[in-house]
Structures are given as structure tokens and as C-alpha cells.
Subunit: 300 residues, 2 copies
DNA sequence: CGCGTTTACGCCTCACGTAAACATC
DNA sequence: GATGTTTACGTGAGGCGTAAACGCG
């Protein structure tokens, strides 16, 4: 029995399948399979029931799981307590929404690279539902999402707040004759992300507070497209404050005045609650001191 | 960092030197040295101060020691809890006194062999002081001694009681005109093991209770020699009861009548208190159900 | 047939033991 | 010189990935 075997077993037992677990321990699924077979041989019992498409834990496997987790945590604690502070290595699969990818990811990548030159961050941009599922499945190590997860298996920690601002193109405002969002929502097209996104939730919350309803909507799952449509004068919308002001400074957009009070978007880092790797602790540390959300360079 | 490395580190830290630790983990001292060097490299710190003839733990090593012990205990617990009940393997260095070696060892070896065919018991016969030191140094896995140790680092568990009987050769009794030990101690030669042995302690306890002193003594560190001398009529002595009666049955010795009440010798299994290997647990189990002290075959 | 896992196989690293060298007392 | 540890080095086992095969839906 080796730590590698226990690690392989643990992730195989808690990830969606062996292939995902293999990625997490940075080996081929063939090797992972063999590590588990070796562990089973050394303990003299079956840990997985492999009849069927997906391997499922046996009773013995169930009993081993908390023990293996404990071993791995303690091994991690030793490395953390005593190990020299050489940087992490390997890969970190980091999920996030598109806005985080544009406003926050570059600075974060820089911070990670400065502290851990050997760690390769692999960002995956997807919507919140996909991100949460991939987190649970083990395909992502952690993810930045708008708001804490509803899933019990995922833990979270605040990353920062993105304040929102109403925006529209100068031509659009001229055409409408008003820059008051409370008036625009009656009749004008509100362009934003699909239902379920943090942005849409923030809008609905705002509308509820003001007794308004947003009738005409256009949703697109791509921020660049949303911004382009707003800029083209197809409608009005919401954007992170810094982003909006950056575009306003070069005349591309107008920040609608007066800015209505909007709930800010609380972004959190999420990870699997049962994931006790040093990688996670370090990501939490780094996002805790990360820079604020910024306007994406490409739109300034 | 691997379990093997932690195991090597633990025993290197708690045995008298690397060579002894290497025997305990069944590798050459070269390999043990390299395992420790590997561990040091993987943690990025020095665990032993190797300037000097004996390696001594550094501060980092001190901190790692309890963590490593914990890891090994948990690994052992996994094997014990889940592992199939295949027998132990490897070697068990078992120390004991000469009497235990003759009266008790054969039956114990048989019991071990029946339960653990792959385990090789290596008995070492020596006196109690030597046994205790070797236990502490790590050269012995466990030992059967007369009475619990005075050393705090050693734990113990009762194995059995050896009842004693007075013996002398028929010719000796005839020559002395008495078979009462309380009379024989005045003037006759008492033949026994060296001071410090359980047998001598039992005699002194008996003498103290009866207000007697044993003046003439002959000590030899070899039971066979002691028995031979008693049988040759050089003096009288004490022997385990079964042993004495076995020799009396064939007329070789007389069991002196009436048998004075003597404290029996309480034999215990001793092991290092910090030794949490499954080997020790199994030895404790086996001696707990082991056969009683018997007359050694060679003297029946 | 698609998906998930294991087997086959060639490769190569790494851990081992023997033996010599080194360091300390 | 005796003792304790490390280095040198040749050997062998075992872990690795690629790719093919297997087994279940």
C-alpha cells in the first residue's frame, strides 16, 4: 500500500469516473487503473465493483474512503507544515464565467505565475451550471462563480464584488430621449446574459425592488457579443462598473445617469468540500489577495 | 514523500542507529540511508544532523517524528481493518531468557508458524538487561522477560507464571541428611542464575519473607550448566515446577519436600511502547493464548 | 457503436544490494 | 582502527504511456 495508491483510490472514488480521476493525479487512466488494482491486491479485497459501465465502490471501498482521505490529508499536512515553500507544480483546472475570465483572470494568472512558476493554470470558461457540475465531477479543481453554490458538496469563499453600471450607446440614448433605466425597461431591449447568470439575477432583484418588470430581453451566452450589441445600439444593458467607465472614457458607451442603485455581483471561489489538497488552500490564499475586477484589456 | 520513506525515517529516528533501523524495515542500510535522503529532498529540509558518528534528529526531524508515527499507525490501521487476514511476513526478532527459550519457545514457535507461515521468528537468548537494551535500541521486536521493565519506553503484558520448586540430586539430599530448603540454605551451596535474574529475585524475596539469608551461592549464566551442577550434587537450587517434576520422574533429581511456598516467576512480553506495528499486536495476541511453561524436551 | 476500464507491450526510471569510500571518534 | 553513514555502480523490478482489446449499455 502506497500513498500514490491511496490517492488514486480516493480520487477514483470521488470523481465521476477513472479518466477524470487520472487527470487529477496527472497520470494516464491506465496507470490509475493499475494503481487501484495494486491497492486491491495489497489489501486483498475488491474496492470497486467493475461490472457495469461505471465503477462503483464496494462495501470495503466505502470503509476505506474516509481512511484514505485521512491519510492524504495528513500527508498534505506534513508537506505543508514542514515542506519548504517551493511553489506548487502540476496543473490547476480553474473554471469561471466569461466576465471573470476577462476582468479578473489575467491578473490572477499573473499572481499565480509569480508565486508558483511550476503551476500551470488551465482556465475553462463556461456557465455556472456547467462549472458546478464539473467541480463535483472532479474535472475542475476550483471555479470562480457568481454566488455560493446550492450544492452541499461545494464550499466557497468570497473573491470580490463586481459593481454594475447601466450602459447604452450614445446613439441609443439620443434615440430614446432618456438615460433613465427605469424608463428604458418599458419598451427598450435589455441585452444581457442568459437566465441563470449572476447578471440576470442581479437585474431581476433590482426590478423587484423597484416594482418594475423587464419585458423585452435579448440573452446571449457571450459577453463580447452582448457588449457588441449594446455598443451597436440594439439596446441597453448592465456591465461591471470599471468596464463601463473604461469604455465610456473613449466614447464607445454611455454610462447612464443617474446610476440606479444596483446589487453588486458577489463572486466566490468554489471547490469541492472534500478536497483537502494544498492546491486548494493556495488558490484560496491567492484569490483572497487578488486584485479587484478590472475592465478587460481587450475592451478598453 | 512515500510511506516507505516515512517508515524509514521513523525507525531511523527511534532506533539506536541506521543499521538497526534498516534491519527493522528489511532493507540494507544503504537503502535506508537513501530513503531518508529522498525524504529530506522531497521535503526540502534536513531531518538528521549527520555531522558526528551518530545521526541525531534536527528540529525539523523532531517535528516530523510524531507526524510520521501517526501516518504509519493509520496505514497499519487500514491494513488491519480492511486487509484480508493473510499472515504476517518478514522477520520477528524475539528476545527471551534461557528458561523461556527452553520451556516456552518451542510451543510458541509452533503457534506462530501455524498462524503465520511467512513469518520467520528469530529468537535471541540473553539476560534481561541485554534484552531490555536491545529492545530500546530497536534490535529486538519484542522479548519475554521475568517481570515488567523499569524502563518507561517499554510496555509489557503478562505471558504466564512459572511456578518454582526446590530441587537437588538424590545423592545430595542423602549426604545432607535433610531435604528442607530452610535448613539447606545454612551451609549448602545454592546454585542459580546471576544476580538480576528473575530466579534470584524470587529467591531473595522468599528468603526475606522467612527471615533467612542465603550465604553460599554459585551463579552461572546458563541454565543447562545450573541444572547439570545441581544434578551432579554440587548444591541445591530452584527450577520451574514442571521441569523439576519431569526430571524427578526419571530419578534424575529430587523435588524437595515439603515444597516451601515460593513466589512464582511472572513472565511478561515486552515491546517498545512506541511500536505500533501489526507485528506487535499479533505477538501480543499469540502469547496471550500461548501454552504454559513446560519442561524443556531436552531435560525430560 | 460509444463509453469506460483493463490488458498488452515496450520503455525507462527508480529502488535495491554489494562493495568501496568517507567521516568521526 | 572501529564504527556508522554515504557514494558508486550494475542489476532488476515495477510503474509509466500508447494503443489495442474488452465489456457493458
Amino acid at each position: 500500500m502506497t500513498l500514490k495508491q491511496l490517492e488514486a483510490f480516493y480520487w477514483a472514488a470521488t470523481c465521476i469516473n477513472f479518466a477524470v480521476a487520472a487527470e487529477r493525479v496527472h497520470v494516464s487512466s491506465s496507470s490509475l487503473s493499475k494503481r487501484i488494482a495494486e491497492l486491491e491486491h495489497s489489501l486483498g479485497l475488491e474496492l470497486f465493483d467493475k461490472t457495469g459501465r461505471n465503477s462503483v465502490l464496494t462495501g470495503h471501498g466505502d470503509r476505506l474512503l474516509p481512511l484514505a482521505k485521512d491519510m492524504l490529508e495528513r500527508a498534505g499536512a506534513i508537506r505543508e507544515t514542514l515542506g519548504s515553500s517551493i511553489g506548487l507544480s502540476g496543473r490547476c483546472r480553474l473554471g469561471m464565467g466569461e466576465m471573470s475570465a476577462m476582468c479578473w483572470l489575467p491578473a490572477f494568472i499573473a499572481a499565480v505565475a509569480a508565486r508558483h512558476p511550476g503551476l500551470q493554470v488551465e482556465p475553462l470558461v463556461a456557465n455556472d451550471q456547467v462549472l458546478e457540475r464539473r467541480l463535483e465531477d472532479g474535472e475542475l479543481d476550483c471555479a470562480v462563480l457568481a454566488g455560493a453554490s446550492s450544492r452541499g458538496g461545494l464550499a466557497s469563499q468570497a473573491v470580490g464584488e463586481a459593481e454594475l453600471a447601466w450602459v447604452a450607446s450614445p446613439e441609443f440614448v439620443t434615440r430614446c430621449g432618456t438615460d433613465r433605466p427605469a424608463e428604458l425597461v418599458n419598451g427598450q431591449l435589455f441585452i444581457s446574459l442568459p437566465a441563470g447568470s449572476g447578471l440576470t439575477r442581479a437585474l431581476d432583484q433590482w426590478a423587484g425592488q423597484h416594482g418594475l418588470s423587464v419585458e423585452r430581453r435579448l440573452s446571449c451566452n457571450n459577453w463580447g457579443a452582448v457588449v457588441s450589441m449594446i455598443r451597436a445600439g440594439l439596446g441597453f444593458g448592465l456591465m461591471p462598473r470599471e468596464w463601463a467607465h473604461a469604455m465610456a472614457r473613449r466614447g464607445a458607451l454611455l454610462v447612464l445617469q443617474p446610476e440606479e442603485r444596483l446589487p453588486s455581483l458577489g463572486y466566490v471561489l468554489q471547490w469541492r468540500r472534500d478536497d483537502s489538497r494544498a492546491l486548494i488552500a493556495e488558490m484560496r490564499r491567492l484569490v483572497g489577495r487578488s486584485v479587484a475586477f478590472r475592465a478587460p484589456e481587450c475592451f478598453i
